[in-house]
Symmetry: C2
Amino acid sequence: MKSSPAAEPACGAALDGPDLRAVEGPEADAELAEFAKALGHPARVRILRLLVRKNACICGQIVDELPLAQSTVSQHLKVLKESGLIRGEVSGPRTCYCIEPRALRRLKALIGSV
Amino acid sequence: MKSSPAAEPACGAALDGPDLRAVEGPEADAELAEFAKALGHPARVRILRLLVRKNACICGQIVDELPLAQSTVSQHLKVLKESGLIRGEVSGPRTCYCIEPRALRRLKALIGSV
DNA sequence: AGATTTCATCGGCGATCCACGATAAATAAC
DNA sequence: GTTATTTATCGTGGATCGCCGATGAAATCT
């Protein structure tokens, strides 16, 4: 499989160099708290995992996977988007969501630092 | 330094083998969400870092480090304790808090799995 | 144009969070 | 026994969350 870094182009993940920001200090604490709050609900953890596995996902598919109303799922998606962990791209009447690999790596670095 | 696994006995961290629980699935999602919610506030991130650095800490010392009322800090400590990430041990009129390494490792494993 | 599909947003309800001061409980010190 | 110290808990107010149905906005289909 060569485990290619990105099987598909997904939505439009930005190209990325190494992360320069500090991993501790008040800034980093607030950043980590922000990420953590976004992950502080099982549905959002689930969504994030879905997006990691499938690389990209139409909103409707996500709604189908969760036992929640469409509006509720949309709210959760908004929270994740505002945290920077995912990105949403409108394409026609649909919206395609995908993870933001840079943010996810940043989260892991922050967690790794505590 | 030999980098001993535990420089001090700290509060009373339980001895621990490898973690057997699954790292994904509904169970794990709820577990991760629980941890994340506990870390979803800068003050709690700060407290966790304090405890990691100092290995153990009296409540009063933590209060001194934060720009919050004593009662508020006590609430945050309670949240962290209920999440399992830290442990508190009463010793005389004081309470000594320390991290629960097993839970912290578990959190890192869960984050690493997404 | 009109109808349909897809998603975001609004409004509302109950629950939870965050902050604080005040008070209680437990131990230590005198 | 009294007083001080240290921490937990209570009560409260304002903010935010989580959920839903209903509505709105935008593109597609017929």
